[in-house]
């Protein structure tokens, strides 16, 4: 009885949280389907705003740009952090504290302050420093550094990376090769989680890209901003499309990862079956 009561409470809390998270999205979706809404109820339902969006030739490039600018800094930042962690793990374990502090600093940086500072510092310099795209990518790298670092560090804490590298070295492997072959595969799930978090953060950014990129690099968020002055329903449709896109990306990554794990499990079970026979 007591157990049933506890389960009911858990389900109620979960249901409330789900409603709280899904409700705004559902309302946005509904609003994007409404025709005219000048009276108490809308005059009817339509997919016209979605059709208009897909018919607009200026709709696709901002989406592509957003996807590029959301993934390139994540890949770059993951690579740089992985290499920095190699130096810390293999050569200077004592630097870990410094690394932790450095990687936590961007948490306290406001996007506006960071973007204005970067612009003020680099815009007067020669290329490639003053290149807006390069500036944007690097600024994003700084912004997502804490998430990337945490994801990698948490995965590293779960294994004895240093000793694994030493074991591989004694088997004839170069330390960097040992790190890439033995340690990095065990960090994949941590990197994936932090990468997804970072991608969604960058996907929704407007402030930094507007200040640094401006007219040089128009993204989906900037397209959305312009649309807000045109039509509320079309803005809602755009929000729904962007949401579905991020959902699709996240689901694909998760499914790929699950598929990988399932394949490994099946392989294992097949092998066990063969051996027990």
């Amino acid at each position: 009885m007591k157990h049933d009561g506890k389960q009911r409470l858990n389900l109620t809390v979960m249901a409330l949280v789900s409603v709280y998270l899904i409700l705004p999205l559902m309302l946005t979706f509904l609003y994007s389907l409404f025709q005219e809404w000048t009276s108490i109820l809308p005059t009817g339902l339509t997919l016209r705003y979605y059709a208009d969006l897909f018919a607009d030739p200026g709709f696709y490039m901002p989406i592509v740009r957003t996807m590029i600018i959301s993934t390139v800094p994540v890949l770059l930042c993951s690579l740089i952090t992985l290499l920095a962690m190699y130096v810390v793990v293999v050569h200077h374990p004592r630097w870990q504290k410094i690394m932790q502090i450095l990687c936590t600093v961007p948490y306290s940086l406001q996007g506006v302050i960071l973007a204005i500072s970067v612009l003020a510092l680099y815009s007067g310099l020669p290329l490639p420093f003053s290149d807006r795209i390069a500036m944007l990518v690097c600024t994003y790298c700084v912004l997502i550094l804490p998430y990337t670092y945490r994801g990698i560090q948490n995965s590293l804490n779960a294994i004895n990376a240093r000793q694994m590298i030493e074991a591989a070295q004694l088997l004839g492997c170069h330390p960097l090769a040992a790190y890439l072959r033995v340690v990095v595969p065990n960090l994949v799930s941590g990197i994936t989680v932090s990468a997804m978090l970072s991608v969604s953060l960058l996907f929704g950014d407007f402030v930094v890209v507007n200040i640094i990129g401006g007219s040089y690099y128009s993204t989906a968020q900037m397209y959305l901003y312009k649309m807000m002055f045109r039509s509320g329903q079309q803005t809602s449709a755009m929000i729904v499309i962007l949401f579905m896109l991020t959902l699709l990306i996240s689901a694909s990554v998760l499914l790929l990862q699950q598929q990988r794990q399932r394949n490994a499990q099946v392989k294992q079970e097949e092998a066990d079956g063969i051996h027990t026979v």
């Binding site: 004895n160 694994m164 030493e166 074991a167 004694l170 004839g172 492997c173 294992q268």
Partner: protein
């Protein structure tokens, strides 16, 4: 000529001197143990041989070649770690085959060698298991197979059995000894467990505070410790300073400490006849505690407490407060430095 030579090896970590002018040799095909308490430098010495630490001074010669400045990968030395250090993303087969893949050995040869090794450690049928699916003992056997598959010149074992329960440890000790003899491979074993060292080793190097305290064969080290530390560490000896011992037995003073092994002490209820080759000392039982098949008595003799190990026979128990005679043969009272 010795197969491994450590010549005047010293090593510091900051202000902490870990190894002080260590020189020792190891003959080919022997199983040698570095024994000592935690922090005595035994693992550091092993890591210096592996190339995972660089000695501040001295040199290491392996098979006639100075390897002091060589990278770990170039030394042809393998190591089994305390925490196994298996690669979690690889199954047993790939863990064992890792070293052979690095050597770019043909696939067929690789398979043959891995199968040989897995048969040797009795892990056939576990090729596809991931390390997390194995027990501690199985993981350690995979680590052993992985280290041996590349046919190293020396196998280093850094407290490989300390994370394993007592019963399994015994069987793994036998397995290691069996494999070492079968392959006739030179092994250096690090442990703080004296029983393990005595069981496994051809030679034990007892270490204390960064120096070699005594090097000997296990039985010689056990029965004939040269220092107070060796006596107290390897055999739970009663170690008394010269003055205290002289007062206790009523002999002339000796400048040396005296060590008496607990199992060489006899306890009797009735006074035996005095004989010139033994001491007979009246004492009183203070306490006793069972240790497996022996009972350890603490007996007060004069101003000293002596430990005596007596085979556990329930019909022959001494109780606290009981008056007894402590009988020790003089040849079992060893002078130590």
């Amino acid at each position: 000529m010795a197969y491994i030579q450590f010549e005047h090896i010293s090593k510091r970590f900051g202000n902490n001197r870990v190894l002080t002018d260590i020189s020792l040799t190891v003959d080919e095909g022997r199983l040698v143990t570095l024994l000592g308490p935690s922090g005595c430098g035994k693992s550091t010495l092993l890591r210096c041989l592996a190339g995972l630490e660089t000695p501040d001074t001295g040199r290491i010669i392996l098979d006639g070649e100075d390897i002091t400045d060589k990278r770990p990968a170039e030394r042809k030395v393998s190591m089994v770690f305390q925490q196994y250090s298996l690669f979690p993303n690889m199954n047993v087969y790939n863990n064992v085959a890792f070293g052979l893949r690095i050597q770019k050995m043909p696939r067929r040869q690789q398979q043959q060698r891995v199968e040989e090794m897995l048969a040797m450690v009795e892990l056939q049928g576990k090729e596809n298991a991931l390390p997390r699916q194995l027990s501690g003992g199985q993981q350690q056997r995979v680590a052993l197979a992985r280290s041996l598959v590349t046919r190293p010149k020396v196998l280093l074992l850094d407290e490989p059995l300390s994370a394993i329960d007592a019963k399994l440890r015994k069987s793994l000790q036998q397995r290691i000894q069996q494999i070492q003899r079968q392959l006739n491979i030179t092994c250096m074993f690090v442990t703080h467990d004296q029983d393990e060292a005595i069981f496994l080793s051809d030679i034990i190097h007892l270490m204390h505070q960064g120096v070699i305290e005594q090097s000997d064969e296990p039985i010689a080290l056990y029965t004939n410790p040269k220092t107070s530390f060796a006596a107290s560490f390897i055999g739970n000896y009663n170690v008394l300073n010269g003055t205290a011992f002289a007062q206790m037995v009523g002999d002339a003073m000796t400048p040396h400490d005296v060590a008496v092994r607990p199992e060489t002490i006899n306890l009797l209820l009735d006074a035996p006849e005095n004989e010139p080759d033994r001491y007979v000392l009246p004492g009183e039982v203070k306490e006793f505690s069972p240790h497996g098949n022996v009972i350890r008595y603490t007996v007060r003799v004069g101003a000293q407490d002596l430990h005596a190990d007596v085979l556990f026979r329930s019909f022959k128990l001494f109780h606290p407060g009981q008056r007894v005679y402590v009988v020790v043969e003089k040849r079992n009272c060893l002078r130590v430095n």
